[in-house]
């Protein structure tokens, strides 16, 4: 690898970052496809149906058939739509979801490269900033379609996402009071050494509020009021077809993956396991790969939980949703901050 050593530090940084980005996207795409697949199979299992099992062995090639179908269908743009926003909205939905993943440490080390695309010292603030941009895709989709149901979906979504962003932001503050840093690698470092140093055991209330708010932020059941098939015929994506519709789907699942990854990092110890010394940065390549495996295992477990929740709970009513966000979660999160502060103050 002599040519590698000849490169300057900046060039190496650019090269390795590009490789990491390519690998992460290369993993995310199949993960998205098979999360959709898993969703369909699990929903079928819960509702005592069979589900998609025709394409390939056990229906495993179904995502490819779906993708091909989305590409080949007619891409219809209604005459009364606002064209520019109608084209932009699906892209604006997907991009923030992808950008969120950039700061999440998905493994410890391979060689001497740390397995995170951008190790920012304001990691979590960056994430919240990007997540808060996610609302534009849906609002603009609702506006661009220029008809009642999408519009109502867009309005609902903007109110819902802003409300739950506040509860979500407040719920993680105790975590950072304990850790003393906004850097996500530091959060993982804090959670090493024993199962009970995982923040989910130290801050169970914060974890619960964060998880429920994450469901609301990603417009998943039981908070999928912006879509709400029965009242709004699909909400913001009513007028969309073919690949543009598929991109909204992609955005939703990328958001799910990103929020699961965030929960794993903040509360479930990230790439660490408290057994066999797996909570120390890897020294060999095998250990590094194992850490990446552990991280994705945890993410997949949380994705499974998200899917299970969707098919187990009925949808909230809109006033109940707002009530839960503003009058239950926000005060609870504030109380949690005060209690954590008092405990930290007593200890010091």
């Amino acid at each position: 690898m002599a040519w590698l050593d000849n490169l300057s530090a900046t060039q190496q940084f650019v090269l390795f970052s590009a490789i990491k980005i390519a690998c992460v996207i290369g993993v995310l795409m199949p993960l998205f496809a098979y999360t959709v697949m898993a969703e369909r199979r699990i929903s079928a299992w819960i509702q005592d149906r069979i589900g998609p099992n025709r394409v390939g062995p056990f229906g495993l090639l179904q995502p490819m058939a779906d993708g091909l179908k989305a590409l080949l269908k007619e891409d219809f743009c209604p005459g009364h739509a606002r064209k520019i926003y109608f084209w932009l909205a699906p892209a604006i939905t997907v991009i923030p979801a992808l950008l969120t993943i950039a700061v999440i440490p998905f493994g410890s080390k391979l060689g001497n490269q740390s397995m995170v695309i951008a190790d920012l010292n304001v990691g979590i603030l960056y994430t919240f900033g990007i997540v808060s941009l996610g609302v534009y895709g849906i609002v603009l989709a609702g506006y661009a379609a220029n008809s009642k149901y999408p519009f109502l979906g867009g309005i609902r979504s903007s109110a819902q996402m802003i409300s739950y962003e506040i509860a979500m932001g407040m719920s993680v503050i105790p975590v950072f009071m304990l850790v003393g840093s906004l850097n996500l690698s530091a959060v993982i470092g804090y959670q090493t050494g024993g199962l009970f140093s995982w923040l989910v055991f130290k801050q169970p209330l914060a974890f619960f509020i964060f998880m429920v708010s994450a469901f609301a932020e990603t417009n998943r059941f039981p908070f999928d009021l912006p879509e709400s098939e029965q009242e709004l015929v699909g909400g913001y994506n009513t007028e969309y077809s073919s690949m543009k519709f598929a991109m909204f789907f992609m955005g939703e699942y990328f958001n799910m993956i990103a929020s699961s990854a965030m929960m794993v990092t903040l509360f479930l110890g990230g790439w660490t396991l408290p057994f066999f010394g797996l909570d120390q940065p890897a020294t060999t390549v095998g250990m590094g790969l194992l850490h990446i495996g552990i991280f994705f295992g945890k993410v997949i477990a949380l994705l499974g939980l998200t899917i299970w929740v969707r098919w187990m709970w009925p949808r909230f009513r809109y006033d109940q949703l707002m009530d839960l966000g503003w009058r239950r979660f926000l005060p609870l999160a504030l109380v949690n901050i005060v209690i954590t502060a008092v405990i930290l103050w007593m200890r010091s």
Partner: protein, 171 residues
């Protein structure tokens, strides 16, 4: 000219360009388009903050302004009659006050600039410019505690006022 200078001019030009497009967009008089260009203006300003190593400010800029305030703008615009705004002609009084306001800001800017760069540069060298979250928090809760508290009281007053205005029969 270093990479950093190039990036500065790039983001500064973008900020100005998008800022102009917010107010005088030759292609569209749609308020939604203006709001979206305001988002882009703020995003480019966040880029400028990053170049100053003020990562916290950059993140908060995107989080608060782009993520929350302008979403609320959009929310309000969508509930209003947008067509009326598109039909509205430019009024002379509006034009005069607008130009006067811009001229006043420009005057202050030039005044500051003519004070000489030596004073500014000396100050900048004295203060640590690394905008980490921890030093910022320490400063807010020690040196700038009073202004910080006054600001939060001001926000509280504004909030109470809004509640009072929106609920007419408050009894």
């Amino acid at each position: 000219m270093t990479m950093q200078d190039l990036m500065f001019y790039f983001f500064a030009a973008l900020t100005l360009l998008f800022g102009v497009l917010v107010v005088v967009n030759p292609f569209s008089r749609n308020p939604i388009t203006s709001a979206m260009f305001l988002v882009l203006t703020i995003a480019s300003m966040a880029g400028l903050f990053v170049l100053l190593h003020a990562f916290f400010l950059a993140a908060v800029q995107v989080l608060v302004y782009a993520g929350a305030v302008i979403v609320l703008f959009l929310f309000v615009i969508m509930l209003l009659d947008v067509k009326e705004e598109e039909r509205r002609k430019l009024k002379l009084a509006g034009l005069i006050t607008g130009v006067a306001a811009v001229a006043a800001v420009l005057g202050i800017f030039l005044k500051v600039f003519s004070l000489g760069r030596t004073g500014l540069a000396a100050n900048a060298a004295a203060a640590p410019l690394e905008g980490g979250t921890a030093p910022l928090g320490k400063l807010l809760f020690t040196e700038y505690l009073l202004p910080f508290e006054i600001l939060s009281v001001l926000l509280l007053v504004a909030m109470v006022g809004v509640i009072l205005l929106s609920k007419k029969d408050l009894r």
